[in-house]
Symmetry: C2
Subunit: 130 residues, 2 copies
Amino acid sequence: MNASDLMTIREMCDAFDVTPRTLRFYEAKELIRPERQGSRRLYSRRDRARLKLILRGKRFGFSLEDIRQMLNLYAREGSNLAQMQSTYDLARERLRLMEDQRDELEIAIAELKAELDAGAMMIAAARAAD
Amino acid sequence: MNASDLMTIREMCDAFDVTPRTLRFYEAKELIRPERQGSRRLYSRRDRARLKLILRGKRFGFSLEDIRQMLNLYAREGSNLAQMQSTYDLARERLRLMEDQRDELEIAIAELKAELDAGAMMIAAARAAD
DNA sequence: AACAAAGTTGACGTTAACGTAAGGCATAAC
DNA sequence: GTTATGCCTTACGTTAACGTCAACTTTGTT
């Protein structure tokens, strides 16, 4: 990080634990827009903030396309009510999906555990009969 | 289901809520082996049992390849200790993965909820200032 | 000047689990 | 006999998020 607060692609990769390919990919998908010094990309503080949001979105299970839309809404006019609302709705929907997924997972875990208990008994039986 | 207990592909689809493509795909992947009457597939009780196991495996998050191996182990010699053990190990590993996934999901849900609460307040504020 | 290190732009490859035609028998109904 | 189904095989298409070259240009180092 130099005086003007700009970072090279490698510094970004080290800082956020991503590959150059990933950063270029996000740029191609219009999720970030680093400035250029000649042909080299230089990432500003703002770019880093966006990347943070992107990575967080991914942890939440949003697709890059979802994230792009939310970022654009966010950026265009921070105070547009309708846009904030639609971002909000999107997030709520995602939350429901995540909760459903968690519930299904919980059920599957319980079932698999039961299965394993039964299987463990069968293995023990086979071993005993050996 | 006729006298000999065999079902056509369509009956199978209706019974298990899958598409013909799916059944043929599973067959190509050597997960099921329906007999033929001419070129037509006919599914036996045994095939249905396997399909049940396949679908259950999918709910557990196993890949078709995992499932294939487990079915083969299961079928070859029901009482081979080493084989049962490896199936068991695979299942235990999968269980761990599922539990990890559930935990991460739980965290992400909590984070997203917090985010939404904050967002809700901002929207409310914007609406009030409107 | 010469060479290595870092960055750039294409562009094809990967993975899983099917979807989706396209074109062709075959059997069942009318 | 012919239309209407139903089934068959073959094979390319799909989706997401990058990975993995290849072939250059640019920059830094000695």
